[in-house]
């Protein structure tokens, strides 16, 4: 999902594992805002 140029991963569990395996930092946004 893209928002103003940011492509958010929505498959959070896999994305967290991917980031760690690839040695990348992650920004995790927990939200209740309307989408």
């Amino acid at each position: 999902m893209a928002e103003n140029g940011i492509v958010w991963r929505r498959d959070a569990e896999k994305a967290l594992d991917d980031a760690t395996q690839q040695g990348k930092r992650a920004l995790v946004d927990f939200t209740a805002a309307p989408m």
Partner: protein
């Protein structure tokens, strides 16, 4: 805050952006919030390269403070992995670029720690304590650094 170009640039260049919504299907929010010990929204976590949390932002914060906190998380990640020069540079840039943010006094404190750890230079701590006498003197970080005055 995400519409801000500075935030977009920082997020896209430094992080894998991951979003979890309270209404995500199949219990995804419950599982991920439990995994990362999150109890409120909005919450934003900065995870380092090993998946360890290095900074947490809970509740709404204005854009400039949000940017500063993201940079604080990046600098803390560098500090924790022992990249002390990179950490010091990032902390000092934060102070210069976001001097009015709530993160600035904390960044000044950790900049001193980074220099000390990187160069085994106790004078860095004394210099940091001295700096707090002229800026952010009323902050909790000034109190923390006050013990370094005789270092």
């Amino acid at each position: 805050m995400y519409p801000d170009e500075r935030v977009v640039r920082l997020v896209t260049t430094e992080f894998v952006p991951i979003r979890v919504h309270v209404r995500d299907p199949d219990g995804l929010y419950a599982r991920v919030s439990e995994r990362l010990n999150v109890h409120w929204t909005p919450t934003v976590l900065v995870l380092d390269e090993t998946g360890v949390e290095r900074h947490r932002i809970e509740g709404f914060v204005p854009t400039d403070d949000f940017l500063a906190q993201l940079k604080l998380g990046l600098a803390k990640s560098s500090l924790q992995r022992g990249a002390f020069d990179d950490a010091e540079r990032r902390f000092r840039e934060l102070v210069v670029e976001h001097p009015q943010s709530e993160s600035a006094p904390e960044a000044l404190y950790w900049a001193g720690v980074s220099k000390y750890k990187g160069h085994n230079d106790a004078g860095a701590l004394a210099q940091t304590a001295l700096a707090f006498t002229t800026q952010y003197a009323d902050s909790v970080w000034a109190k923390k650094a006050s013990v370094w005055r005789a270092a």
